[in-house]
């Protein structure tokens, strides 16, 4: 990956005793969108500030297009940063905000104005140039902040919780818009968020962080299907995790003996059963598994929540810890019903024991 636009090598930042970044290494290739995902306090924002030059490193290096950035102040790095709460300049109107970057780079006025109009068109706010920023709604502020960050044509655009404060429906629409915009412009993007949905929808690659360290890197699908650690799994919302012991391709767990991929090393581990792998025995999907399915496990339904068109069931199995299962609205049993379930071995994940 010598063609990486951004290379972070062994970056460490300490605030007193605590390491906000602890030996983080990460590459971002040109035209790639990378999302850093993690709970608050995991060091995501510090990572962006380090790249922007707003936070000095205690050790390690940041390279942009192969050049070490040590000693280069923020205003000469040529990166864009969109702040969490936008940080629009309150005393300037929309045009003044968007045109700020080009003005700092001494772009002549006519070109600057043209660029401002062009960007406002691009983010869906044509003709908003003269509006005071105080009159903008949250979504509009977000768009102006994006236009402002793009205006100086940064080689790397960084987004800090880009959609953090917006309401849910607006967020889903904007993620989609952003994704298409970045594809069209060919922008290289490094974004941080604590929202997995946002990260998976936006990113080519996801970087999962925990307490200043990189926990897992992969495409959204890889990370989603194969969380590398129990922390990763739980962060993604998977709670069906139990102790198990692997012996020659079978894992013995509280839920019974389950087949795991043959390459899984023998010994104690943690076993993750994604909710999507817990199937109600009477459904066609379960029947389609045929002999591959695990032995049926009797369960009592103790709770239901609705997530869009799917239902998440909280189950109390006759043996082993509680299980979350997902099913369609049509198949959903009532609370208190007793239902047998089978587990789809193809989706089981073994995790290292902590």
């Amino acid at each position: 990956m010598s063609d990486a636009l951004l290379r972070i090598e062994d970056a460490t930042v300490r605030f007193g005793e605590r390491a906000a970044l602890d030996g983080v290494t990460l590459d971002v290739a040109g035209h790639e969108t990378v999302c850093v995902l993690g709970p608050s306090g995991s060091g995501k924002s510090t990572l962006l500030r380090v790249v922007a030059g707003l936070q000095p490193l205690d050790s390690g290096r940041v390279l942009l297009a192969g050049t070490d950035q040590a000693g280069t102040p923020p205003h000469r790095r040529g990166v864009g940063l969109m702040f969490q709460d936008h940080q629009l300049f309150p005393q300037r109107d929309v045009g003044g905000n968007v045109g700020f970057g080009p003005r700092m780079h001494r772009v002549p006025r006519a070109r600057r104005d043209a660029r401002t109009e062009e960007l406002l068109d691009l983010v869906g706010l044509p003709g908003a140039s003269r509006r005071p920023v105080a009159t903008l709604s949250g979504g509009e502020q977000q768009r102006v902040a994006l236009a402002r960050a793009l205006a100086p044509e940064p080689r790397l655009l960084m987004l800090d919780e880009p959609l953090g404060q917006l309401d849910r429906s607006l967020r889903e629409r904007l993620v989609d818009e952003l994704r298409r915009l970045f594809e069209r412009l060919g922008t290289t993007v490094l974004a941080v968020t604590h929202d997995q949905g946002e990260a998976f929808a936006l990113a080519d690659r996801v970087v999962l962080m925990r307490a200043g360290r990189v926990e897992q890197v992969g495409t959204p699908l890889e990370v989603w299907r194969r969380p590398a650690t129990e922390f990763a799994a739980r962060f993604l919302g998977f709670d069906n995790i139990a102790d198990a012991t692997v012996r020659s391709g079978r894992a013995d767990s509280g839920w019974g003996a389950l087949p795991v991929p043959a390459a899984t090393p023998d010994g104690p581990c943690r076993l993750l059963v994604p909710p999507g792998a817990v199937l109600l025995a009477h459904t066609p999907a379960a029947k389609a598994l045929g002999p591959a399915a695990s032995a049926p496990l009797g369960c009592e339904v103790v709770g239901r929540t609705f997530r869009g068109g799917r239902v998440v069931l909280r189950l109390r199995p006759e043996r082993g810890p509680g299980l979350d299962a997902e099913c369609s609205l049509r198949d959903a049993p009532d609370v208190g019903d007793r239902v047998p379930v089978v587990l789809d071995p193809a989706d089981l994940v073994t995790l290292p024991r902590a």
Binding site: P74, L81, F83, Q87, F89, P90, G101, M104, A151
Partner: protein, 576 residues
């Protein structure tokens, strides 16, 4: 690293200014008093402190300051509530009105109370009661001065306390009084303490009021320093007293810094505009009481002062004002007193400019909060507020008379001394505003390609411009009223307004007295106009947004409206 250098560079100019125009003159006068033949005579400290009359002065200074502070709190705290929580017509104007005494020169206040309580004054002619010989005149005048300090410091915070906290306590079963005691009072206590310490500082160093109303028997340290220096010419005693006052003031400022730091504990602050309500029930009586106090305590003395200035030998008229235009037959003045108006305005304008530059640089250096060194720098800037102005003025005379700083014959001497007391106000006004600028706005500008200097120009400067205007206004008003230092260094042919008033009051005769009242009225009007210009446009819009209390952290409201300064920075007594 570079940031530290820039900060150091910014701090260098104010530091040099303070070294040359504060530390050096004060050190010179202390040295003059305590050094002889190349030896320090520190034994004199013990001699002076052992003197019974000096101990009497010390005791009086301390107890009158404590009494004034207690009285001010008792009278002004209800008003703080009324201004913070009740909505009534004319509130904004009234808040400006109660702030007027705060920027009035103490000479004017002294004359006003003399006109009210003294021989032939209102209380004398109505009831035959003269208070100018009792300590009450001093105490009441001190309340008059510092009323606004409490109303604005405590009231400013009170207005921003979230009333829902009280409501939450009520819902949890607390009675009205219990809710106040358990929720409101703990939140207010640090700001009450800070206000009390400020009032104590101002009354401890009180000069003009005590000079005019204290008579021959009562003197504060500051008045005694003046007497020892200018009347008895006992420099060693004056030097010792200066040191004593210096130590006392440093201690008071340390307490103040401590209460401020405690106040920075997290309070949930809300927009002050939303917490007021119309008075109901007993609150109407409270409002009426506060209005009555304002009428008697603040409007009446000012009114009487103005009335006396028109009460000439031939009935009401402009006789005294006309007399200001001529030199007069005695030798009080070399020039017509009316020229003092022009002198004062000119000096104050220059002083405000100097204070703005020095204070602005200091505030810029202090913006990025940093370690102990910068805190020390912050405290240093406050010191001139409490140091004997008499000492500073006399120190100017004896220290700035040889190269490289030979300013003996320069008119600049007066504005320089006046700027010294203006700087702390500029810093107090500018600093909260500069600190309220979200650091991430600066970072946003930097990431967009602005160099550090450009960031300052594009982000800090526009937001600070309004605060700079207010700061300059306060520095102007303070300079206008400065007396303690100016009285030494103003040349006889170019007196300032307070100096001219004091000179007129020092002469016998009804005409001189009337002229003093007339000149005081002029000074009062100039100060009031200056204040109203500052206050009204601010109050009308952004009044409620910002820390009304110097040193309070700004709320975490949206950065949409950069903190508009609406501080009445705790102002020292002008007259020191």
């Amino acid at each position: 690293m570079r940031a530290a250098l820039v900060r150091g560079g910014l701090a260098a100019v104010p530091l040099a200014f303070f070294a040359a125009f504060f530390a050096y003159p004060v050190a010179a006068i202390v040295g003059r008093g305590l050094r002889e033949g190349g030896h320090w005579h520190l034994g004199r400290i013990g001699d002076v402190l052992g003197d019974g009359s000096v101990r009497h002065v010390l005791w009086f200074t301390c107890w009158q300051a404590a009494a004034s502070t207690a009285l001010t709190l008792a009278v002004a705290l209800p008003a703080a509530y009324v201004f913070a929580r009740l909505d009534f017509p004319g509130k904004r104007v009234l808040r400006a009105v109660v702030t007027v005494p705060f920027v009035l020169p103490t000479v004017v206040a002294g004359s006003a109370f003399l006109a009210l309580l003294g021989r032939g004054g209102l209380t004398d002619s109505l009831f035959g009661v003269r208070l100018d010989t009792s300590v009450w005149a001093i105490l009441i005048a001190h309340v008059f001065f510092n009323y606004a300090v409490v109303v604005r410091t405590v009231g400013g915070l009170w207005a921003q306390l979230d009333p829902r906290q009280e409501e939450a306590a009520r819902m949890l079963g607390a009675g009205r009084l219990t809710a106040f005691r358990r929720v409101v009072l703990p939140a207010l206590a640090p700001s009450v303490a800070a206000a009390a310490v400020m009032v104590y500082l101002f009354t401890f160093t009180s000069f003009g009021v005590v000079q005019i109303l204290g008579g021959p028997t009562r003197a504060t340290l500051e008045v005694e320093i003046y007497r020892q220096t200018a009347e008895i010419f006992d420099l060693p005693t004056a030097a010792v007293l200066t040191l004593v006052q210096f130590v006392a003031v440093a201690a008071i400022l340390a307490v103040h810094a401590w209460t401020l730091r405690r106040r920075e504990s997290a309070l949930r602050l809300v927009d002050a505009g939303a917490t007021g309500h119309r008075p109901r029930g007993g609150e109407r009586a409270l409002l009426a009481g506060v209005l009555a106090v304002v009428a008697v305590l603040i409007l009446l003395p000012l009114g009487v002062l103005a009335a006396r200035s028109f009460d000439g030998p031939h009935g009401y008229g402009l006789d005294f004002y006309r007399a200001l235009g001529s030199v007069g037959d005695d030798s009080t003045f070399l020039v017509p007193p009316v020229q003092a108006v022009g002198n004062s305005l000119r000096y104050a304008a220059v002083a405000a400019l100097i204070a703005l530059v020095i204070g602005g640089l200091a505030a810029a250096a202090l913006t990025r909060r940093a370690g102990r060194l910068m805190r020390g720098f912050d405290a240093l800037l406050m010191l001139p507020l409490g140091t004997s102005a008499v000492t500073v003025g006399f120190g100017f005379l004896i220290s700035l008379d040889k190269p490289p700083l030979d300013l003996r014959d320069s008119w600049l001497l007066v504005p320089l001394a006046q700027a010294l007391v203006g700087v702390p106000f500029v810093v107090r006004v500018m600093l909260p505003v500069l600190r309220a600028v979200d650091q991430r706005l600066r970072e946003a500008a930097a990431v967009l390609g602005a160099s550090p200097a450009r960031v300052w120009r594009e982000i800090d400067l526009p937001m600070a411009a309004r605060a700079a205007g207010v700061a300059a206004g306060f520095a102007f008003a303070v300079s206008l009223g400065e007396f303690g230092a100016t009285v030494f260094i103003a040349r006889p042919d170019s007196p300032t307004l307070p100096v001219a008033v004091a000179r007129l009051l020092g002469r016998a005769g009804g005409t001189n007295y009337g002229q003093a009242m007339a000149l005081s009225t002029v000074l009062m009007v100039v100060c009031a106009v200056c204040l109203l210009i500052l206050e009204v446009p601010l109050s009308s819009r952004a009044a409620t947004r910002t820390p009304a209390v110097p040193g309070t952290p700004p709320g975490d409201g949206p950065a949409a409206d950069p903190a508009a300064p609406r501080t009445a920075p705790t102002r020292e007594e002008v007259l020191r």
